[in-house]
């Protein structure tokens, strides 16, 4: 008993004062920091965002037909080596390899090229100048994180067209994350509008919006996706399909969030401190800005992060069955589409690599979202 009190009185006064003068955001942050898994999720996620932002720099090739390696179709991943049968060296290198389909064997034949009876080494070059691009769409550059002077380097192997899978995964990460991001934002704007109007105005407007929301909710989204994506003309460009997809993801997914926003607003409108503000002469605008939004913001951020993995899932699932993005666009779903054939699975298991990226991304988003939610509302434990 006494030692417990001791520890508390020993606590520096300043720390206590920090707690007392900590805003809800600061408390939120300190609670969040305590959750290791969520922090891990956040860290992994920032890596993904880094990949999405700097895909051109990270990828040695464009991943498109212009950097195709015709001698290495459906080639397995190349190991970064320091040693081979000819001995060791300090600088990392890869072997120059070829791969081609043998109709007789019904499999791909991989060979390591040799020079003077020794495997052909291709030393890795860092910050290697190759294809030009604009970093973040602004800064012109031709540097890539790594590359080889002659031949090709394929860390994740190549696909059946001989395109570098590593580069493709980098670009696909960008596409999948950005499409999910835009989809989430769009559905967020729609739900904010519908939910906000319903929750703030109430009355028959609320009833009408609720009825419409229920109608959209009762149709399973996939048939809706199908209907909407089937409407894309076949001759649309990749960009058009890309934006149409974000539109579809946004259009289909707003009702759930709209409902939550509505009930949140309805509940917080009745909070006593909001009533107190009204009686203090605060205008409707002031109540929204000073009292409803600050609480709402953390709630919304949590909701958005929690929704994110579902949109990634949607894009991937749709693209796998051929309803979403199509080649030559690169997205996780498009890359995974190649592996749905039994043959691909047997012969080229490295086509699974995008799946690992997908799983890790969804997992870290979920961890982060759960952590944020727990930090925002320490007493909620149920997802639904």
């Amino acid at each position: 008993m006494t030692d417990m009190t001791m520890t508390h009185s020993a606590q520096p006064k300043a720390r206590q004062e920090n707690y007392y003068t900590a805003s809800q955001w600061q408390l939120f942050w300190s609670r969040f920091k305590r959750n290791r898994l969520a922090a891990l999720g956040g860290a992994v996620l920032s890596l993904f965002i880094f990949i999405a932002l700097f895909a051109e720099f990270l990828a040695p090739y464009s991943g498109q037909a212009d950097t195709r390696n015709p001698d290495y179709t459906a080639g397995p991943p190349q190991l970064i080596r320091f040693c081979d049968s000819a001995g060791c060296q300090l600088w990392p290198f890869v072997h120059d390899m070829t791969s081609s389909y043998s109709v007789l064997e019904k499999s791909y034949q991989v060979e390591v090229l040799e020079e003077n009876g020794q495997p052909l080494r291709r030393p890795l070059q860092f910050f290697y100048p190759a294809g030009e691009y604009k970093l973040l769409g602004l800064i012109p550059s031709d540097r890539h994180l790594f590359g080889v002077e002659q031949g090709f380097v394929h860390l994740f192997g190549t696909d059946s067209n001989g395109l570098d899978l590593f580069s493709r995964v980098m670009y696909a990460t960008r596409t999948s994350l950005s499409i999910a991001f835009l989809g989430v934002m769009l559905s967020f704007i729609l739900s904010l509008f519908f939910g906000g109007v319903a929750g703030y105005i109430g009355g028959w407007v609320d009833t009408a919006i609720q009825a419409f929301t229920d109608l959209v909710r009762v149709i399973p989204p996939i048939p809706l996706y199908m209907a909407l994506t089937a409407m894309f003309p076949r001759d649309w460009s990749n960009t058009q399909v890309y934006f149409a997809m974000t539109l579809v993801l946004g259009l289909v997914n707003w009702p759930t969030l709209a409902r939550r926003i509505r009930s949140y607003l309805l509940a917080s409108r009745e909070e006593e401190y909001v009533q107190a503000a009204r009686l203090a002469g605060a205008s409707g605008w002031r109540i929204v800005v000073r009292h409803l939004l600050p609480g709402f913001a953390s709630y919304i951020i949590v909701e958005l992060v929690i929704n994110f993995p579902y949109r990634i899932l949607d894009e991937t699932a749709l693209s796998i069955v051929g309803l979403g993005l199509r080649r030559p666009t690169m997205s996780w779903g498009v890359l995974l589409q190649e592996m749905t054939t039994v043959q691909a699975i047997q012969l080229t298991p490295w086509f699974f690599i995008p799946l690992i990226f997908f799983v890790v991304a969804v997992l870290s988003f979920t961890l982060l979202g759960d952590g944020l939610r727990d930090a925002a509302d320490p007493y909620s434990g149920i997802r639904r």
């Binding site: 008993m1 006494t2 417990m4 009190t5 520890t7 508390h8 009185s9 320490p378």
Partner: protein, 340 residues
């Protein structure tokens, strides 16, 4: 009071594991309850009055920890002694204690009855757990008891749900559901706090009447000393999980010994003394995380400034009268003087 006590609580301590650390909810509490006696436990929020009675029935939540030195010795109807604090959580003996020996009524009967089952269903369940009767007999007993607690149309009420009843009727049903198991001790946890004064008066009268009939002992918890004074024989005053003062109700109210009890009585507005100014106890109740050292009341005690001991040493309850104890250094000193 020469009989053996029905319930002897000694050194009861309960701690909660919280995110902010270990919080002491009840600290070294000891008291005894005689058969047929009504003990009132009075205390403000955070005094641990409700936690300590939940501990008597081992109804504490998972994050609560009962101190190893705590003893809750109870004499069963059959005359055997059990230490409830030592009973296995799944033992038959504990199940018998819960309901069969000690029953409990709560502040919010609307939350204490499940809305999915009728009142009768939940009463019959309790009866059949403790008395060897058929379903029909149990139902009859339930109806009789509902009638006994003053509910109109008991045959109809038995098949109603708690949400169909008014607040007062719900509390009556709650009392009926506890007493129908014929407990030797009834723990009433703020049973009238949520009710209007007129209904509160009805319920207090009813409890007194039922105690006469059934002869059970009652532990009545309330934050309102006036309510306690109406029903209790003896009072235990708690503050921050500690026992401050205990004794017969009249002595506590007329001659309070502990500065906290004195402060409490001076702060209560009374109809009998309309012109007397209200004297608040200075300061605020400390947060459970910042438990004061020494006497837990010293941060608000008007005498503590002159007595450095109050800041450092925990006072031990001392007898001022044979049945009147108070835990205050000032009294201990005085008592010592007297005996010398």
């Amino acid at each position: 009071m020469a009989t053996d006590p029905l319930l002897t609580v000694s050194n009861l301590s309960v701690r909660f594991h919280t995110d902010e650390g270990l919080v002491t909810a009840v600290d070294d509490l000891s008291f005894a309850l005689q058969p047929g006696q009504t003990l009132g436990i009075v205390g403000e929020s955070g005094s641990g009055k409700s936690v300590s009675t939940k501990a008597l029935m081992r109804l504490l939540p998972d994050y609560a920890e009962l101190d190893a030195n705590s003893h809750i010795v109870y004499q069963t109807k059959k005359g055997a002694y059990v230490d409830i604090a030592r009973l296995d959580a799944r033992s038959k003996a504990l199940k018998q204690v819960r309901g069969g020996e000690i029953a409990m009524i709560f502040q919010e009967p609307s939350a204490a009855f499940s809305p999915l089952y009728t009142i009768g269903n939940q009463m019959i369940e309790g009866i059949r757990l403790h008395r060897d009767v058929s379903r029909d007999q149990a139902r009859k007993l339930a109806i009789e008891m509902l009638d006994r607690v003053g509910m109109t149309n008991p045959e109809l009420r038995v098949d109603q749900y708690a949400f169909q009843l008014s607040g007062g009727m719900r509390q009556r049903a709650m009392i009926a559901s506890a007493l129908v198991m014929r407990p030797a001790v009834l723990i009433a946890d703020e049973p009238t706090t949520a009710l209007d004064v007129t209904i509160q008066a009805q319920i207090l009268d009813l409890l007194k009447e039922l105690q006469q009939d059934f002869g059970m002992a009652i532990i009545f918890i309330s934050h309102d000393l006036a309510v306690i004074s109406q029903i209790a024989d003896d009072v235990l005053v708690m503050y921050l999980g500690k026992e401050m003062e205990t004794g017969p109700v009249r002595r506590i109210i007329r001659h309070p010994q502990h500065p906290y009890t004195q402060g409490l009585i001076n702060a209560i507005p009374r109809l009998e003394e309309l012109d007397r100014p209200l004297l608040p106890i200075p300061g605020d109740i400390p947060s459970p995380l910042e438990r004061p050292t020494g006497c837990v009341f010293h941060t608000r005690c008007p005498h503590a400034a002159d007595h450095p001991r109050c800041h450092t040493d925990v006072p031990i309850p001392a007898q001022t009268q044979p049945d009147h104890l108070a835990a205050c250094h000032l009294l201990t000193e005085k008592v010592l003087e007297e005996t010398v």
